[in-house]
Symmetry: C3
């Protein structure tokens, strides 16, 4: 799959112009950062999890992003209902199975969500992706110890079973859709010291999918933008505190020139 | 209504001296920023939502701030109870009807809270304010698409029905109380790219209302301080990440001189 | 008790090498900062509160940190279960009784947790520590108005009853274990203007306890690191916004040299 700097730039311009509402049912740790990242990119974040209103929020959304990072029984019915409604309304659905493999509850809930309606994009680290297809997949907390390439087989099985675009993120991000595997090489090691940038990546997948119906391409665009903004912000960041701040500034200040200069992607 | 720089400065000095406890029942997205903004201003934030303790928290508070940004059935009874108790104790109550109009649940819950006890100050964007009085008021997520001036009629009806001071915030903030309309012109466009600054504004209304029994004036003071701190921080902020950080620094470093120089208010 | 710069540095190196999983059941206000502080230090944060999974999370954790800052009935059973399981697995347990004394609910819940299983480390401000042993202990919100030295008697009673290491934090931090009282003099006044740094301190106690079985020493190490990082970050922080950011950078950039130069501790 071909993803060029100029395609990415067009997608960003579309997001900035349309300001699609991205409906997030996500975890407590990252809500603020996720909302700010979507705003900085040009999208309109909504965070809403009450069963009473998820359908109405889905109805005004351009994409739905489900993230199970601080899962509880009080939220799962809303996640399921939002997924069903997003499917009916034919808007893209992103699933971030945070910590799948670390506990049975997370693995099981992720699989239930996958069974609720077709998920457009699944984005996780290698351990999480493997846990979704393999009952023995165990992770160390929410970190990934496995190399993302090892998870490619799992990603393929997920794609074959559910039809989803699967993104295995890590030092290299792999975006798999059918026979097609795209590698995004952008990113910076300091990003692993900021909590929730994976969650931000999933939210950005939602934003790009809201303006680009080629969902594999949208996912690659989102991951490239994450990596490029990460590289831009790492340059001026003595540590993860300033990195988190500069990352939002970088997202906001992305230009076609930055993307042209920094993009490293293999089709 | 007259609001001068020297009045604002006196109010800030009173907040710094008295450090009033501001009890917030607010949304997950902004809790950290709201608490930090109140601390930076000089107030003492408390975030507490359990039914078991809201009355005791209200009992030590100088103001109550209710924000429905991530509403759920598990929180509504606590909101109601806190409102009732704050009314009994005669402390000011601020309502931020985040996303009213976007879903029936938010509109209905806001109205229920308005019916529970007299709300001292209602602060929302134009869409939210209109939704509270008009069953057809629909918003695009939590953003305001309507011009705030258009919401003045709705604000007047809210005031007439509930006796509340109503603040319609936007590029210009309108503070309405009876026949009196005050316009705060301070602020900066980059503030719209930082999530939750509206929520921060509502919390600051609570802090100023805790030290100034003229609630329309307190609201105008809070909105002016928001706008001035926004202008001060935007000067050094290449994007919304640094804006969020610099905003807290600016609140902390407010001086009578800054306020004198920057205040733009029309009585 | 002796705590030297070289011991602290060894502990940091152990944390960076082992990256122990620190399982936090904490409050909504600080989740993001707590996770980031643990990451910046070199630990692996997990935030998980569902009853369905707390035992599995405890099973992969090197320490459990319970913080009641935004307590509710939906979380207490998970806290209790996590404490029981951590005790069975013999991993250190830290309790941060945020706001104990401000409401009966918080005081009672803290005491219930203390009765559930032996708590390794209790860290709170003077008011909170006093509230745990004294039914008359009342706090003004979550701030401490009492001098931390006044709480030493309460700390001693807590230690005698529950066997816990007790840290009374404030301008001077007192770490009490049996007859032994260690004073950490590091810290900076601007830290009191950033929400949740006390909560961060508790989480760091967990990280140091995960690599150092001398829990009084581990607590002193954590408090010294907090204070030193606070002093390092205050130097370049015009206000609490930049302080919060610089604090994470300082934690990430801690060196043996910094610690040597800045450590102020009395054994």
């Amino acid at each position: 799959m071909q993803v060029t700097a100029s395609q990415i730039w067009s997608a960003i311009e579309a997001i900035r112009k349309q300001a699609p509402v991205i409906h997030n049912i996500t975890n407590f740790v990252v809500m603020n950062n996720t909302a700010n990242a979507l705003l900085a990119l040009g999208a309109s974040p909504v965070m809403a999890h009450a069963e009473e209103e998820v359908e109405e929020m889905v109805a005004i959304a351009g994409a739905l992003v489900i993230n199970i990072g601080t899962l509880s029984r009080y939220w799962v019915p809303s996640m399921r209902r939002a997924v069903q409604h997003a499917h009916q309304r034919k808007i893209p659905i992103v699933l971030d199975p945070v910590g799948a493999g670390a506990t049975v509850y997370r693995t099981r809930t992720s699989r239930e969500l996958l069974g609720t309606a077709p998920i457009t994009i699944i984005r996780g680290n290698a351990s999480e992706i493997m846990a979704l297809v393999n009952s023995e997949g165990k992770t160390k907390g929410v970190d990934s110890s496995a190399l993302s390439a090892d998870a490619l087989d799992a990603a393929r099985r997920l794609h074959d079973t559910y039809g989803s675009v699967v993104c295995v993120s890590g030092a290299t991000d792999y975006i798999l859709s059918g026979a097609d595997v795209t590698k995004v090489l952008n990113g910076h090691i300091l990003m692993t010291k900021v909590t929730g940038l994976g969650c931000t990546a999933s939210a950005l997948c939602g934003a790009f999918a809201a303006v680009n119906g080629n969902f594999a391409q949208a996912t690659a665009e989102a991951m490239a933008v994450m990596g490029i903004a990460g590289e831009m912000s790492a340059m001026n960041s003595p540590g993860p505190g300033s990195m988190q701040v500069n990352f939002l500034d970088a997202l906001y200040r992305l230009s076609e020139e930055n993307i042209n200069k920094l993009l490293r992607i293999e089709g």
